[in-house]
């Protein structure tokens, strides 16, 4: 509990990075919701509910970054020494960071989705209405955001450099995975089994391209927890 309190105190007392992330996400969601509502009003889209959920998928990028930051800012600013002096059992520090990353990411995703829903509701009135299926889709987006945060935390802990982890994430998810997916059946569709694709297929609004939802979830969770475990081992082993 102390370490959770310490992690939250770190965020509260140097809040600008976190605040920037939250505000950027909320601004994007507000714009997306307004755009979608406008399209729905003008008959450009028939299904603003799905569009809103789809747009909320953007929050996963932010929670990925947040997961990376929660580990790497301690390394970047050299505060990791003091963190480990106060808590030499580093696995406990990692556990506190994991819980913080998951909880705050879920909150962030819910906040983003709620803002979009409220805007669309105000704009479109009763026409805008979530079905049970759509609520399920929305909850998958939120759960996916949590998993992306775990993936980010694992990546950050493995590499331990902030810039390195952010750039690696960018290159891997936006370039490497896209190329491998693009190669499709020529490389036995392995692209669809990569971490980013597994997560996308788990949380996608439309039917997943290759895997079943359950398989995608299991695979995504395995990647996220596996990378977090690898990162924890690296944090335990490496001198600071």
């Amino acid at each position: 509990m102390r370490l959770l309190h310490a992690e939250l105190t770190k965020i509260r007392t140097a809040p600008w990075t976190t605040v920037t992330l939250v505000l950027a996400l909320l601004a994007i969601m507000a714009l997306a919701a307004a755009g979608i509502s406008n399209d729905a009003e003008n008959g450009i889209t028939a299904d603003p509910e799905s569009d809103i959920i789809d747009a909320a998928g953007i929050s996963t990028i932010f929670t990925l970054i947040f997961g990376i930051l929660i580990v790497t800012w301690d390394y970047r600013h050299g505060t990791i020494t003091q963190t480990f002096l106060a808590a030499p059992r580093r696995e406990r520090v990692m556990a506190a960071k994991l819980v913080t990353a998951i909880v705050l990411s879920l909150v962030l995703a819910v906040l983003a989705l709620t803002l979009a829903i409220v805007i669309a509701n105000v704009w479109l009135g009763d026409v805008f209405h979530f079905t049970d299926e759509e609520w399920t889709q929305a909850s998958r987006i939120v759960a996916g955001a949590g998993l992306w945060a775990v993936l980010g935390l694992g990546l950050g802990a493995t590499l331990q450099t902030q810039v390195g982890a952010l750039i690696s994430a960018l290159i891997w998810f936006l370039v490497v995975e896209q190329i491998l997916v693009g190669l499709g059946s020529r490389i036995w569709d392995i692209g669809y089994y990569l971490p980013g694709q597994a997560l996308t297929q788990f949380a996608s609004v439309g039917a997943p391209e290759h895997l079943s939802r359950a398989t995608a979830l299991a695979l995504a969770a395995a990647y996220a927890l596996g990378l977090a475990a690898l990162g924890t081992v690296m944090v335990l082993r490496r001198d600071v």
Binding site: T13, W73, H77, T81, L85, P88, V240
Partner: protein, 296 residues
């Protein structure tokens, strides 16, 4: 009590610390002296559980750091590599540590008072001078009112008044029975601050002694001038003293005392124009011990 036992730390092929053993006793300020790159910080990091030893290890009050319950209440540390989030205030930096260690906020205010930082505590660390950062580091080390203090170059960036303040603070902590272990690459600093000195060089143990003893250990010489220098030299050599001629025609006499030289001269009717014992400084002692490699 800090015990380092047969500690070796290698980084690839580089041996940073080589089979190092020593003990740091409580109720004294012990200096940890060595040139830059001698392995001081690496040794401190192993003591504090931040780096893993390749061989051997270190204990604080009989336990490795990683096994201490409530470590901040047992050991306070400032490392050179310790740093701060530039956007966090000094007070909030301490509050993060206090949260991690379960220490109440009131204690944060106490240590801020102790290091005379109350006035600048709400400013961001970004604007702190090196001296203020050192004070904040000390405040962090004192947060848990620990029995053992491990400080890496704490006098860096302090002005003379700051060093005096630091010395008084460390002395009062040690006189309360605490173990205070302070590294430095500056001899003058250690001479001012420490009761005992542990000297290392290239990762190896060189010497451990009280500061005064160590200085005395450097060949203390007697400087003597006489119009009968040649006669005196013969008598001194016959007595087994080491005699070297000085540029001004005087003699530097080792392995003896001023009293012995004076008595020898009197007994043989030799006139002396000068007879002065030269007290070696820690600097000279250190040069002697490390084979002439200077420190700072």
């Amino acid at each position: 009590m800090i015990e380092v036992d047969r500690l070796t730390k290698r980084f690839g092929k580089t041996v940073a610390v080589d089979d190092l053993s020593f003990r740091v006793a409580p109720a004294r300020v012990t200096g940890f002296l060595g040139p830059n790159g001698a392995g001081k910080t690496t040794t401190l990091k192993v003591i504090l559980g931040l780096a893993r030893p390749t061989v051997g290890g270190a204990m604080i009050e009989g336990k490795p750091y990683r096994e201490l319950a409530d470590p901040l209440r047992r050991v306070g540390a400032v490392l050179e590599t310790s740093n701060y989030h530039p956007g966090r205030s000094g007070r909030n930096h301490l509050r993060v540590l206090a949260a991690a260690a379960g220490i109440p906020h009131s204690r944060v205010e106490e240590v801020l008072e102790l290091v005379a930082m109350k006035g600048s505590a709400k400013r961001r660390v970004k604007g702190y001078s090196l001296g203020m950062r050192q004070r904040l580091g000390l405040a962090a080390a004192l947060l848990g009112d620990p029995e053992v203090l491990v400080l890496d170059e704490p006098a860096n960036g302090l002005d003379p008044a700051g060093i005096r303040w630091l010395r008084d603070l460390l002395r009062s902590l040690a006189s309360g029975g605490r173990t205070v272990f302070v590294s430095s690459h500056l001899l003058a600093e250690v001479e001012q601050i420490a009761d005992d000195v542990i000297v290392i060089h290239r990762g190896k143990f060189v010497a451990q002694a009280s500061t005064a003893e160590l200085a005395a250990r450097a060949a203390a010489r007697v400087r003597v001038r006489s119009p009968q220098a040649e006669r005196l030299r013969e008598l001194l050599v016959a007595q087994g003293a080491a005699v070297e001629p000085l540029d001004d025609g005087g003699l530097a006499v080792g392995d003896t005392t001023a009293e012995q030289v004076g008595e020898l001269a009197a007994a043989n009717g030799i006139v002396l124009h000068e007879l002065s014992p030269e007290t070696a400084t820690l600097e000279e002692a250190f040069m002697e011990l490390t084979g002439g490699e200077t420190v700072a």
